[in-house]
Each structure stands twice: as C-alpha cells, then as structure tokens.
C-alpha cells in the first residue's frame, strides 16, 4: 500500500485523472478523521491505519492519501465491493467510540466513511478533493495528534470500553503508598478501581482504561499533576478530575479550576470529601453513572 502524506490532494487528483483516462477499476473511501472528537489525521495515524488494512489488501491494490484538511482517502485499484464492508468495519472499529463511526452504513457509506463506487462517483471525488484543497489553504497545519503521552487511537478504543463498562471506573494517582491505599479503601467496593504511583503510569492507565473519575495528586515524582490535568482534559473534555494535595495554596486551586478540574481535596482525605465528588459525578453525568455504591 502506498501512503501519501504530503500534497495528498495533488497526488490524488493525478491518480483519479489517470484512472479515468485508462478506464480502470477503482473504488474510493473518504475517511472523515477531521470530524472525530479526540483523534485527528496525522502521518502516524495513517501508518497505523495502513497496517490494519494490509491484512485485507495486497500491497499494490490500494493507496492511502492524507489531505491537509484532516481527512484521509483510501483508493482501491479494483472494484471488489464485498471487500469494502470489511475494510469500513475495521476502520470504524479503530475509532469505535465516536458516534460518527456508529452510524449505520448505507449504499454510499455513512458520515464517517463515504464511499465512491462508480465512475460518476470518482468525478464527485475529484470535485470534492478540489474543494478540500481550496478550503485547506486557510488551514495552517494539520490538527495535532493527541497531546504527548497519550496514544489517540488507543484512547478512542478505551472510550468505547468506558461506555461498555458496567461500573464506574475510578483512577487514583498518588505516590505515597499509604495515601493511595487509604483513598482506595475510602472509595470502597462497587467500582472498577485503577491506581498509579507516578504520572507516566497515570497517563498510560488513562489512555488504556479511560476512567470515569480521577483523583490526582499534584506532587508526583515524575510529571506535575497539573500537567497531567492539562494533557488529559485536552484529549478528553469530559474528563472528571479531582486534584489531591496537602497544600491550601490559593493559586493552586485557581489553576486547577481554570484547567477544568472538577474539584480539589486538601488532605486529610475523608470519606465525606471523596464521596462528595463521586456523588457529584453521578449527578452531573447520570448517563455515565452505571452501578457503584
């Protein structure tokens, strides 16, 4: 599979022109990565999508183009429409959580994967690319992948798991072993509890588990808790993060709130303080509350 990451529009238009001249068989899929909530099209995302699709496609049977506007186009050099169903299913699975990928497929695909099957469709695709290229002049750069430390694709899959989880998932990040165990005990049974004693592990757990609620210590040995707060809320605007600290510094509280923390607990941790935020989460997001004490 050829992956074209630069000047995708120009190369794609040339390819379509050639196909039309030769009258060769062709199918196109527009993958609307630009519409996803948490993952944008980048060369890295394209590489990984290509790895997934290689299972279905011989090396010379397809090209994948990255458009500056943020979408990708998969061009198949055959007209095996049966293969399309599997390919689209796999692409949608990669970004499973996003509602866009959940839409039922029609003859021309869905809003996430738009299909171009016939010669006339290819003319439409050509026009579309011209339009996108014109529009892309106003875009400075491709939207970045997730902030450093979180793999956007894996996170999309974790968001799907979050939706499927039967209990509220809570991540506790605290480097002091006693404090960590205390918070876990206070939270009690009835939840899926994840723990981390440093920032790097916390980000890894967030990426793979997408917990519903996070209790996050500010003073961690490797990454500042505020940095983790910023990283997580950038990729997951629905994140529910409560900061934990031993200090009463006013500027810390203000900073946490400005960066979308849902709350702030000053030690000592008590059942009342911890439960208050679990209840707040349940009230604010009744749809995500599931079970849990």
């Amino acid at each position: 599979m050829k992956i074209i990451k630069k000047n995708g529009e120009t190369h794609l238009m040339q390819a379509i022109d050639e196909i039309r001249k030769k009258g060769s068989a062709c199918l196109g899929i527009r993958i609307r990565l630009s519409q996803l909530t948490a993952c944008k099209a980048t060369p890295d995302v394209l590489d990984r999508m290509a790895n997934l699709l290689r299972n279905h496609l011989p090396d010379d049977a397809s090209d994948l183009y990255l458009l500056q506007q943020g979408d990708a186009i998969l061009l198949l050099h055959h007209r095996n429409t049966a293969a399309i169903t599997t390919i689209v299913r796999d692409i949608c699975f990669m970004f499973a959580e996003d509602p866009l990928t959940q839409e039922p497929m029609g003859e021309s695909g869905n809003r996430f994967c738009q299909l171009f099957k016939s010669g006339e469709d290819m003319i439409e695709l050509h026009k579309l690319v011209i339009g996108l290229e014109a529009a892309s002049h106003v875009v400075d750069d491709i939207a970045p992948l997730a902030p450093s430390g979180i793999d956007a694709i894996r996170f999309q899959q974790a968001l799907y798991q979050r939706r499927m989880r039967s209990r509220i998932g809570i991540l506790v990040v605290e480097d002091q072993p006693f404090n960590l165990q205390l918070v876990v005990q206070i939270i009690g049974r009835g939840f899926d509890i994840f723990t981390a004693t440093d920032g790097a592990t916390a980000l890894k757990v967030y990426e793979t588990q997408a917990p519903d609620v996070v209790f996050l210590d500010i003073d961690l040995p490797d990454i500042d808790g505020f940095q983790i707060l910023k990283t997580v809320t950038e990729i997951d605007p629905a994140a529910f993060i409560v900061m934990l600290t031993a200090s009463h510094k006013r500027q810390d509280v203000e900073y946490a709130m400005q960066n979308n923390a849902q709350g702030y607990i000053v030690k000592p941790f008590t059942k009342q303080k911890i439960n208050q935020y679990v209840t707040l989460f349940k009230n604010r997001f009744p749809g995500r509350s599931k079970t849990g004490a």
Binding site: P177, F178, Q181, Q185, A246, K267, P268, T270
Partner: protein
C-alpha cells in the same frame, strides 16, 4: 500522655474494618520507615542539591500520610523539615532527628496497642 494519633479519624473513613485498618497502618509504617531510612543513610557530608530535593519530597510524603491519620506531631515535624529543605546540614540533622522521634513515638503507640 496524649495519643500521638487518633485512630477514630481513620475508623471514621474506613468503617469498622480491623483487617483493613491493620493493613493501612502497616503500610503507613513501612512507607514512612523506608523514607526515613533512606534520609538517614544518604545524609550527605556536604550540601547536595539532589539530596535536598529528595529530602523535600520524602518529608512532603510523610507529612501527607501523617495528616491522613491525624498524627499531628509527626505532621508538624515533617512540615518544618520540608519548609527548611535547604537549611544547613547541621540544622537538618536536628530536624530529621525530630521527625524520627515523632515517628518512633507513633510506631511505639501503634505496636503497643496492637493496631498493626
């Protein structure tokens, strides 16, 4: 003598769960003990930036843990030590000694009362 911490503070949070209580207090003593052992063993001969920062982190951690079980003597001593993490070594030797004393009192109380 007043008790060096109030077990009821902990019980109010975790309920009447003797096993969990024992596990938590053991964890508390082990983690504080490991920090204090390190601070004593690695105590430098000359001023050392890296040790100063580690000192600050360990004192901060013990302070947080002490606060969580209502061990205010230990919390006070570690707060003082954390605030003075760049003080002269002779001063810090005294601060460390005070923290260890507070911790020993607490440890003794916990063992004496078979709490862990």
């Amino acid at each position: 003598m007043n008790a060096p911490f109030d077990i009821n503070e902990l019980r109010a949070n975790i309920g009447d769960e003797p096993e969990i209580e024992r596990m938590l207090l053991t964890s508390f003593m082990e983690s504080c003990s490991a920090s204090l052992d390190w601070l004593q063993t690695e105590f430098p001969i000359t001023q050392n930036d890296s040790y100063d920062l580690t000192w600050k982190n360990h004192m901060h951690q013990i302070k947080g843990a002490a606060l969580n079980i209502g061990a205010f003597g230990l919390q006070e001593a570690t707060k003082h030590a954390e605030d003075h993490y760049q003080a002269a070594l002779a001063v810090r030797k005294m601060l460390l000694s005070e923290v260890i004393t507070q911790f020993d009192v607490l440890q003794h109380f916990i063992r004496e009362n078979s709490l862990a």
